[in-house]
C-alpha cells in the first residue's frame, strides 16, 4: 500500500523537531482514571549481592509484575543506588527487559527503605502504580541549566532557571481537576529544590499537594529516569489523578533521637489526616538524616510503629525533599516546599 504524506505535514514535523531539539522535554499520559476502578500500589526491593545490576533490575521488575498480579501498570518509579552510569544503565536494561520502558520513571537516590529494610548500596526499589482507578501523567524537563550552578554564588540564576523548569514541567502535564498529587524527582538538590517547587506552584497553585525528592547529587551519579532512559540536568514529574485522596506531612531533624521521633510524628500526622483506607505511604527522606542514625532500622521501626507493615511503604533517601516543610522553617503559605533534612510523608488513601 502506498502512503501519502502531504508537504504541509512534513513541514510541520520539521518545525516541531527543530523547536524541541534544544530541549528533550517529553510528556505522556495513561488516560483518565475510572472513578471506581481499582488502584494498586506495590513496592519491591532487590539488593544486588552478585555484582550484576542487570540481573537485579530484571529480578525487581519480575517481582513487581508478580506483585501487581493481573493489574496493568500505569507507571513504575525507580529508586536506585548503583555506582556510575555504566551500572545504572545495566540496571535500567534489566528493568526495561521486563517492564515496558515507556512506563519506567524515577531517579538515582542514596538508597531506599521499605518493609523489607533499608538499602544504601547496589540496590533498587520499585513502586508500581497500576489499576484503572488511577491516572498517570508524566513529564520530563531537560536542560534546566542549574546542575552546575553553586548555591551561594549563583542564586539568582538558579532561581530563574528552576522556576522556568518547574513551570514547563507542570504546564506540560496539562493539569485537570482529577489531579491529586504531583511527585517530583529532580536534579535540584536542597536548597535548589525550593525553586523548582515554586515553578510548579505557579501553574498548579500553592495548595496543590506536591511531594518528591532530589536525585543523588554525588559526582557522576545524578540521573533521573524517564521512559527507561537516564537524563541529567533534568526533572521528572508524575501526576497522579483519580478518585482518591492524599495526606501530607513533613518533619525536619538533624540528630539520631530527633530523626527517629520526627519520623514517628510525621507518619502519625499523615496517617491521621488521611481519609479512607491507606493504599500506600510514600516517604521522601533525607540521606543526611539517615547519616545521623546509629542504626538505620530505628527510623524505619518508628515509621512502622505508626503505619504498620501491611500498607506498602516506598521510602527514598534523597538530596533534598519536597513536601510540607517543618514548621520550624516554614516561610510561606504554600502547602509544599523544597528543603533538606526532612522526611516528607504522603499517604494515598481511598
Amino acid at each position: 500500500m502506498r502512503r501519502f504524506v502531504s508537504i504541509p505535514a512534513i513541514a510541520l514535523f520539521v518545525t516541531l523537531s527543530a523547536s524541541t531539539a534544544a530541549r528533550a522535554d517529553d510528556f505522556f499520559t495513561s488516560g483518565p482514571a475510572k472513578p471506581d476502578g481499582p488502584i494498586v500500589l506495590k513496592v519491591v526491593q532487590v539488593e544486588d549481592l552478585d555484582g550484576d545490576p542487570k540481573a537485579a533490575g530484571k529480578q525487581a521488575a519480575e517481582q513487581l509484575k508478580s506483585a501487581m498480579g493481573n493489574v496493568p501498570l500505569r507507571a513504575v518509579i525507580v529508586s536506585e543506588v548503583f555506582e556510575d552510569i555504566e551500572y545504572k544503565q545495566q540496571l535500567l536494561d534489566g528493568i526495561n527487559s521486563v517492564i515496558a520502558p515507556n512506563l519506567v520513571l524515577g531517579g538515582a537516590t542514596y538508597g531506599s527503605f521499605t518493609h523489607g529494610g533499608c538499602t544504601d548500596f547496589d540496590a533498587v526499589t520499585l513502586l508500581g502504580i497500576g489499576g484503572e482507578g488511577i491516572g498517570v501523567s508524566a513529564g520530563l524537563v531537560t536542560k534546566q541549566g542549574a546542575a552546575k550552578l553553586v548555591v551561594g554564588q549563583d542564586d539568582a540564576a538558579i532561581k530563574k532557571r528552576l522556576h522556568a523548569a518547574g513551570k514547563r514541567l507542570a504546564g506540560g502535564l496539562k493539569p485537570t481537576d482529577a489531579d491529586r498529587l504531583l511527585i517530583l524527582i529532580a536534579d535540584a538538590h536542597s536548597p535548589k529544590n525550593q525553586y523548582l517547587v515554586e515553578g510548579t506552584q505557579a501553574v498548579l497553585g500553592p495548595q496543590f499537594p506536591i511531594t518528591g525528592g532530589s536525585a543523588n547529587k554525588n559526582a557522576g551519579q545524578t540521573y533521573v529516569y524517564f521512559r527507561g532512559k537516564p537524563y541529567q540536568d533534568a526533572s521528572v514529574g508524575v501526576m497522579l489523578s483519580g478518585n482518591f485522596n492524599v495526606a501530607l506531612a513533613g518533619r525536619k531533624a538533624t540528630d539520631n533521637d530527633a530523626v527517629i521521633s520526627t519520623a514517628r510524628d510525621g507518619a502519625a500526622e499523615a496517617i491521621k489526616k488521611a481519609q479512607g483506607e491507606p493504599l500506600a505511604v510514600l516517604a521522601f527522606n533525607c540521606a543526611g538524616r539517615r547519616s545521623k542514625l546509629d542504626e538505620y532500622a530505628d527510623e524505619l521501626a518508628a515509621i512502622e510503629s505508626i503505619i504498620g507493615k501491611n500498607v506498602p511503604l516506598f521510602g527514598l533517601y534523597c538530596a533534598g525533599e519536597i513536601g510540607p516543610v517543618d514548621l520550624s522553617e516554614k516561610s510561606s503559605e504554600a502547602l509544599s516546599g523544597g528543603s533538606g533534612w526532612h522526611v516528607m510523608f504522603t499517604v494515598i488513601a481511598r
Binding site: G152, N216, A287, A319
Partner: protein, 335 residues
C-alpha cells in the same frame, strides 16, 4: 638533598622528641576548657557545631555556652546551658544557618563559657588545657571574672564524594576540601575524597627533597632505612570503636600499597605529592561509608632528609595530641 643519595637515619629517639615538642600546650586559666570540633560538612550545608566543654576545676560548673561564627553565619540557639561536675566533660551542639564556604577552609570562631554562679571562675591554671585549636595550633583564650572565651580557626574536615584518577596530578582535586597546616614553616595540605568503593587522599608535602627508601635499599629494606625515608602514615578508624583502626604507610617507591589500592607519588618543585586510593571493601562494615557519616582519620607525614621537619601530624595541627585521630566526615559532592 637529591633523592638518589643515601638518606640520613632518623632514630626512634629523634621522632619521639619531635612529638614531645609538638605536644606542648598552654596551661588553662579558667574553670572550663573549650574546643570546637572541625566541621563535618561545609558551612553552606548547615553543619552542626560541636563544642567540647570540660570542667577542669574542683567545683561544679553551671553556665552557658555561646558560639560566634563569622559573617552572617549563626548558631541556633544563641546559647546552650551546661552543667558539669568537677572533671566532667560534655559536648554541646548547635545547629547553624547562613554559613558561606571559604576557599581557604578556615573559619574563625569564638566560643565563650559564661558561669552562672559566683566562684565558678576559680583559677585552675594547674589543670591541663584542652588541645589548641586549628590549624597549626592557632587560637587564644581570653578570660574574665565570669567568662572563659576561646578563639579558634576551625576547618571543615570532610571528604566529598568523588573518584579521582590516581596519576600524581592534582587536577581532580579542585572540589576537595583542603586542610592546611605548617610545620617549621613548611606547608602540608591534605585533601580527601570518598565514594562507595574507595577512599582517596592527596597529601602535598613541602620539603627540601624526597628521600626514597629504594635509592639506598631495595624492596625489603630494613625498618631503620624505611624510617629514614619520607613517607605518609594514614589511619582510618570507625567513629565510635576505639579498638579498630586500619593503618597504611605510603612510601614513594610503592605503587600498590595493598591489594586493590593505587598510589602515585610525584614531585614538583619543592612539593611532594602523594595521591592514593584505598578500597573500602575491607573496611566497609566498620566505616559504614555513606553521606554524612563520620569516621576517624589520622595522618602523619614523616619528612626526612635535608631540612627535615620530622613528623607533621594532622591531629596535632587540629589541636589534639600528636597521633590523635580526628573526626572526619563523608559528604556529598560540591554541586
Amino acid at each position: 638533598m637529591p633523592h638518589n643519595q643515601h638518606p640520613p637515619i632518623a632514630s626512634p629517639v629523634s621522632i619521639i622528641l619531635s612529638i614531645a615538642l609538638t605536644a606542648t600546650v598552654a596551661p588553662a586559666a579558667g574553670p572550663v576548657t573549650l574546643h570546637v570540633r572541625p566541621l563535618p560538612v561545609t558551612p553552606a550545608h548547615t553543619p552542626m557545631i560541636y563544642v567540647l566543654v570540660e570542667n577542669v576545676s574542683d567545683q561544679p560548673y553551671e553556665g552557658s555556652i555561646r558560639v560566634e561564627l563569622p559573617g552572617d553565619w549563626k548558631s541556633v540557639p544563641d546559647t546552650r546551658p551546661v552543667e558539669l561536675k568537677p572533671g566532667e566533660r560534655t559536648e554541646v551542639s548547635f545547629a547553624s544557618e547562613g554559613g558561606v564556604n571559604r576557599a581557604d577552609n578556615r573559619y574563625p570562631v569564638t566560643v565563650t563559657a559564661t558561669g552562672d554562679k559566683p566562684g565558678t571562675t576559680a583559677d585552675t591554671a594547674a589543670q591541663p588545657s584542652p588541645p589548641a585549636p586549628l590549624p597549626a595550633g592557632e587560637g587564644s583564650t581570653a578570660d574574665t571574672a565570669s567568662a572563659v572565651s576561646r578563639n579558634q580557626a576551625i576547618v571543615c574536615a570532610s571528604a566529598p564524594y568523588f573518584k579521582p584518577e590516581i596519576d600524581g596530578n592534582a587536577d581532580d582535586w579542585q572540589d576537595a576540601i583542603p586542610v592546611r597546616w605548617q610545620s617549621d614553616g613548611k606547608r602540608t595540605t591534605l585533601r580527601t575524597y570518598w565514594n562507595r568503593r574507595s577512599f582517596s587522599v592527596l597529601v602535598e608535602v613541602e620539603e627540601e627533597d624526597l628521600v626514597d627508601p629504594s635509592v639506598s635499599e631495595k624492596r625489603g629494606a630494613s625498618p631503620a632505612a624505611k624510617c629514614a625515608s619520607d613517607r605518609v602514615q594514614l589511619t582510618l578508624a570507625p567513629r565510635d570503636d576505639t579498638n579498630k583502626r586500619f593503618e597504611f604507610t605510603l612510601l614513594p617507591n610503592e605503587k600498590e600499597p595493598l591489594d586493590g589500592a593505587e598510589l602515585a607519588v610525584r614531585r614538583e618543585g619543592n612539593v611532594t605529592r602523594y595521591e592514593c586510593m584505598i578500597p573500602l571493601r575491607p573496611m566497609r562494615r566498620d566505616l559504614r561509608p555513606t553521606e554524612g557519616r563520620e569516621f576517624r582519620l589520622g595522618l602523619t607525614v614523616h619528612d626526612a632528609g635535608n631540612g627535615a621537619t620530622g613528623p607533621r601530624d594532622v591531629g596535632a595541627a587540629m589541636g589534639r595530641k600528636p597521633g590523635s585521630l580526628v573526626l572526619w566526615g563523608m559528604c556529598s559532592s560540591k554541586y
